[in-house]
Structure formats: C-alpha cells, structure tokens
C-alpha cells in the first residue's frame, strides 16, 4: 500500500512539474537563440499568397505543422547565408512536421526561382509582391523569422540572422513537434 501511495505521489508531482519545466526549457531555448517570445494567446496572423511556382499557399492550410516562417530577399546577404540552413532543416525535420516557408520581399518570381535552382532549395518559397504579408507581421528588416506552433500560435520571432541550425534551435523545433495540435 505504501508503495502504491508513493508511486501515485510521484506521478502527481511529475504531472504537475512537467509543464513548468517545459516552459523553463522553452524560455531558455529562446534566450539562447536571441528570440523574442509571445504569449499563449498570440496567434500568428493569417495570410494567403502564392508561391514562386504559382501554387497557392495559406497559413491556415499548414495548421497541425510547426512552421518556420522567414522573410527574405535574394539581395539580402544575411538572408542568403540562412537559406542553406533552412534547406537542411526542411530535409531533416520536414517528415516530422516542420514546414519551412520563405516569404520573399517584393521580388518577382523569376529571380526567386533562379536563386532556388542555383542553391538547391526545395522548401516553400512564397512571393509577397505588394508587401501585405510582411506588413501583417510588421517586417521592416530582413531577415526576420517567426516560429509558429502546430495550433497556429506564434512562439518566437527573431529580427536579424539567428543560429537556426544550432542544437538549441533543433531542440526548440523538436519540443514543438512533440506538442499536440
């Protein structure tokens, strides 16, 4: 009987402690990556646009996925540095539910397609010819990148380049991928 009570107590303690511990880990990951966090009720702004290859793309269609949304341009040197990192994440974690989306700032589809081909990019590249998607997210500097959870809530933002391929970043993505929708 004593062992049953001890087990039940331990289970209760673990159940109570796990969310708080997860939050601490989460905050620590954001701190290490230099990312700003959002509140639990901050939804990522909805958007619908087209990709450089003409297919439609909307954030709502990505519900259930963890989305790494980066705003970039082919003329932006720090953005170019990050694109190969995003490609690796797409290839490594895509099948687990991470979707990488690059929203290009006001360029035509042709240079985006040329850049993707030249650099072997296979993740989703969207166009934003009138800047509406960027405006909804308040983007005025490139690169600016957002992390969005499976349930559509905004998790983090980084204005400027970040270590997206680091262990801390991958740990963040894995934690978010482990969440329920």
């Amino acid at each position: 009987m004593r062992s049953v009570i001890a087990y039940a107590t331990l289970a209760a303690v673990v159940a109570l402690a796990t969310p708080a511990a997860a939050q601490i880990d989460h905050a620590e990951r954001l701190r290490v990556l230099g990312l700003a966090g959002y509140g639990r009720n901050d939804a990522a702004p909805a958007f619908s646009t087209v990709m450089a290859d003409g297919r439609r793309l909307s954030l709502s269609a990505l519900r259930g996925k963890v989305v790494l949304l980066t705003f970039w341009a082919t003329w932006c040197p720090p953005c170019r540095d990050e694109m190969s990192v995003f490609e690796r994440l797409h290839r490594d974690l895509g099948t687990s539910g991470l979707v990488v989306v690059g929203v290009n700032a006001r360029e035509d589809p042709e240079p985006i397609i040329d850049y993707a081909r030249a650099n072997g990019l296979s993740f989703a590249l969207a166009v934003d010819p009138d800047g509406k998607v960027g405006a909804a997210y308040g983007v005025v500097a490139l690169p600016t990148t957002f992390v969005i959870a499976r349930d559509g809530r905004a998790v983090a933002r980084g204005v400027g380049a970040r270590a997206w391929g680091s262990d801390s970043a991958r740990s963040l993505f894995r934690a978010l991928l482990a969440e329920d929708d």
């Binding site: 700003a36 959002y38 509140g39 901050d42 990522a44 702004p45 341009a73 932006c76 040197p77 720090p78 953005c79 700032a105 006001r106 800047g131 960027g134 405006a135 909804a136 997210y137 308040g138 983007v139 005025v140 500097a141 490139l142 690169p143 600016t144 905004a154 933002r157 204005v159 400027g160 380049a161």
Partner: protein
C-alpha cells in the same frame, strides 16, 4: 539585418529632415482646439501592456506621434528620429507615445526592428485616430501628426504633416522648442 528599401529611406532622411525642420508649412491650423483636454485613449502596446494617456496626468508632458504604417519607410524614419532623440525628450520630462493602426503583432516586430524605448500603441479600431482627427483619406491609417499635451492633459501644440508630402521626416527640434516654451511660460 538589412532594412527593406534602405536606399529609399536614406534618400528620404537625407533630404527631408532638414526640409521639415526649416519649412513652416507643417505647423498648420489646429484640427483640435488648443488649451482644451486632449482626447483620452487606452490602447494595447507592442510590449503587451495597456497604456492610457491619463496615466501620465500630473506627471509628464506627453508627445503623441501618429504614424501611418510600420511598413512604410517614411513612417519608420519619423519614428526613428524620435527614437534617436528619446533622451532629449526624457530630459525635458516628456513621454513619447507613437500610435498607428497596425496590429499589436506587427508592432512587436517593428519595435524589435527599430529598437526604440517608448511605447508603440495599436489602434486597429481607429477610434483614437478619429478622435484626434488624423484619419487618412484611405480610412485605414493615420496621417502623420504630433500632439503636445501638458501635465494637466491639455493640448498645447500640434503639427499635422499628413498633407505636407509623403517624403517628409519631421525633426524633433520644433517640438523640443515648443516644450521649452511651454516650460518657460509657467
């Protein structure tokens, strides 16, 4: 980090700050009556606070800066000028507040980008923008405008830039001079 349309913004800054500081066209006839209570507001900020004009009453002079959009280069340049001069205003006991119709989400990103130290408030419902009579003809954003409000909440000075040209970046000097004049009159 690369600012979008940086070349355009630099061009605007280079020519327009000086022009705005020296041309008198920006100090137009009052849309709101000077010497009367400034319209109060309570709005969400980029830092997830709720800020009211009245919370500064009896404590600080308030400069309310309306800007059209966080994504517009000229608006960004205007807010950045106040950001660079924040300490000058603080030394005169002036609290700067900037208001636009952008969402709180957009303003959070914008605040990170421009690295300013004063509150950015979201007026998506346009109520405050309407009460200050600075709604742009497109009915979705504010005209660029500045309102100087004393410690008692009275409107003392206003500058309406909305029709002064899309490329006008307003320097802080005329506002600081008005603050000093306000203090001298007491």
């Amino acid at each position: 980090m690369t600012t979008i349309r940086r070349r355009e913004a630099i061009k605007l800054l280079g020519g327009a700050v000086v022009a705005a500081a020296t041309v008198g066209v920006v100090d137009k006839a009052a849309a709101l009556e000077l010497g009367k209570p400034a319209p109060d507001f309570t709005l969400p900020s980029a830092s997830s606070e709720t800020i009211s004009l009245k919370q500064y009453r009896g404590q600080k002079i308030v400069l309310v800066e309306f800007f059209g959009s966080a994504s517009a280069p000229t608006c960004m340049s205007n807010v950045k000028v106040r950001g660079a001069d924040t300490q000058k205003f603080a030394d005169l006991n002036v609290q700067i507040i900037a208001i636009s119709s952008d969402s709180p989400f957009a303003l959070k990103t914008y605040a990170d980008s421009v690295k300013i130290q004063f509150p950015l408030l979201s007026d998506q419902g346009l109520q405050t923008i309407r009460r200050y009579e600075v709604l742009a003809p497109d009915n979705v954003r504010a005209l660029r405008a500045f309102f100087l409000i004393d410690e008692q909440g009275m409107l003392r000075k206003q500058w309406l830039l909305g029709l002064a040209g899309d490329d006008v970046v307003f320097a802080s000097a005329p506002i600081i001079a008005a603050v000093q004049e306000l203090k001298t009159k007491r």
